[in-house]
């Protein structure tokens, strides 16, 4: 794409700005910020990626992944303030999901072990894992405060914290995974997935693009399952003390 063509894409920013102005939606500022941020962030990433791909140094790949995990953690932890050590729990979850998934992909040599593959796939793994963590934490904390009387009931009958939170944990894990599973059911019928579209526009063979997309779909399913389950089992114990009592301020 030429820079002239790229500048013309700003028309798509002007449309919402004008609509917001005329309809008094009050979204001008946010639209403007979003536009500026996406320009800066994406251009920066583009140059960084070019540098990393050219240098072929492993250390840069690790740095990029660390940066992704760090940013994703800071973003997701806002939803789990009531859980002690949530930052480390999310970071650990993201790291584990990334290592396990990449371990399988690279271990079986499903794709070549080069930065060109590792980094975009890591981005998808970590990004999806972050979204799942947010969905899970949202639902789990809501479930816990809505059903605290049932948690107390099970404790009062001689149940352990694990038994007392089992139901809420399972429904939060399920609820957080449903969007991933549902969106894969209609994939390709309505919207072509972003990565596949990108490849096709860039001139790749559609069949080749589909094969990669399938890999991504399967990766997203496994990261969805792993993220919420890991995070779930790391989170629930912090809501109780060692006398198996509910920490009131956490509910």
């Amino acid at each position: 794409m030429s820079y002239l063509a790229l500048s013309l894409t700003l028309i798509f920013v002007l449309i919402p700005l004008i609509l917001s102005k005329t309809l008094n939606l009050g979204l001008e500022k946010d639209t403007f910020i979003a536009t500026v941020r996406s320009i800066i962030q994406l251009l920066a990433v583009g140059y960084v990626l070019k540098f990393v791909f050219d240098s072929e140094h492993l250390i840069y790949i690790f740095l990029m992944i660390a940066l992704m995990i760090g940013t994703a953690t800071l973003n997701a932890r806002k939803k789990g303030k009531s859980i002690d050590g949530i930052t480390w729990k999310i970071a650990f979850t993201l790291l584990t999901v990334e290592v396990l998934t990449q371990g399988i992909i690279l271990g079986f040599q499903i794709v070549p072990a080069t930065a060109q593959y590792i980094i975009p796939i890591s981005g998808m793994i970590i990004g999806n894992s972050m979204v799942l963590s947010i969905l899970f934490l949202n639902r789990f904390t809501a479930e816990m405060s809505a059903h605290r009387d049932q948690v107390e009931l099970i404790l009062s009958l001689g149940g352990t914290p694990k038994q007392a939170t089992h139901h809420q944990l399972i429904s939060a894990i399920k609820a957080s995974m449903i969007p991933t599973i549902e969106s894969q059911k209609t994939i390709g019928l309505v919207q072509l997935p972003g990565m596949m579209s990108g490849q096709i526009i860039a001139g790749a063979d559609p069949i080749q693009a589909v094969q990669f997309q399938l890999l991504i779909v399967f990766i997203l399913l496994t990261t969805a399952a792993m993220s919420s389950i890991f995070l779930g089992f790391l989170s629930y114990p912090t809501l109780f003390n060692d006398r198996m009592q509910m920490l009131k301020e956490k509910f």
Partner: protein
């Protein structure tokens, strides 16, 4: 209370504090073994808080609680709560049928409750077998309270803490539950601590009573103290409830 008795539960200078507010203040006393002790007092006096401490759902912020002469903290919380059963004031139900609710205490120990057992527990609280497969969310307030009592009995605890278990029941059902509790107390020598707003009930079925106000025990003794309280505050409380 000049008679010598063995305490099932003993409290020694017990406080419970949340932030700056003292909810229980310096309570010392015993609940005698094999007896029914009622806890009475106005709303917010700290009755529920006191029972929850005895079942280990919360811990005192100062002082000690002894269960059968052992410090409460020496018990494993799971064993403690099975031995000191509690029927919660709100009679919460888990999702599912009445049967699943009755089975819950055993299910937590990976055991099953036979259908005949469940029917017999239901019978104890005056519900027939048709309730077994009812969805717990469809129960009336009184029926829920009955299921909650039945469920508390399943653990066959040595001590039972009953938090206003008849507040939503009609007169006939109240009588039925009172008879059941007295029967269990007689037959199995189960120690009962029963919170009630019904002073006639406290007089009728309680051996002993504690009057709580603002987190303090202000009068204790045999239940008949409620007929002729010494303390001016208790006098006014009793008149207020009775009239």
């Amino acid at each position: 209370m000049e008679k010598v008795y063995e305490p099932a539960i003993h409290l020694n200078h017990v406080d419970f504090q949340i932030g700056d507010s003292k909810i229980i203040q310096n309570i010392t006393g015993s609940f005698p073994k094999g007896k029914i002790t009622t806890l009475v007092g106005p709303s917010g006096a700290g009755k529920t808080t006191l029972l929850k401490m005895c079942n280990g759902l919360i811990s005192p912020t100062a002082g000690e609680i002894f269960i059968h002469n052992e410090l409460i903290s020496t018990y494993n919380p799971v064993d403690l709560r099975r031995n000191v059963g509690m029927a919660l004031q709100s009679a919460p139900m888990i999702k599912g049928t009445v049967y699943e609710n009755l089975e819950l205490p055993l299910k937590l120990q990976n055991k099953k409750l036979a259908e005949t057992g469940a029917i017999s527990y239901l019978g104890d609280v005056g519900l027939d077998r048709s309730f077994l497969n009812k969805n717990a969310v469809d129960l009336s307030g009184g029926q829920r309270q009955k299921v909650s009592i039945a469920r508390t009995l399943v653990n066959q605890s040595e001590i039972l803490l009953l938090d206003e278990i008849t507040s939503a029941l009609d007169r006939a059902s109240v009588k039925e539950i009172e008879e059941l509790i007295v029967k269990i107390n007689n037959k199995y020598n189960v120690t009962m601590i029963w919170i009630t707003h019904n002073l006639e009930q406290a007089l009728k079925i309680g051996h002993y009573t504690w009057v709580l106000m603002k987190g303090e025990v202000i009068e204790t003794g045999e239940s008949k103290l409620l007929e002729n309280p010494q303390n001016e505050l208790v006098k006014r409380f009793v008149q207020g409830v009775m009239e």
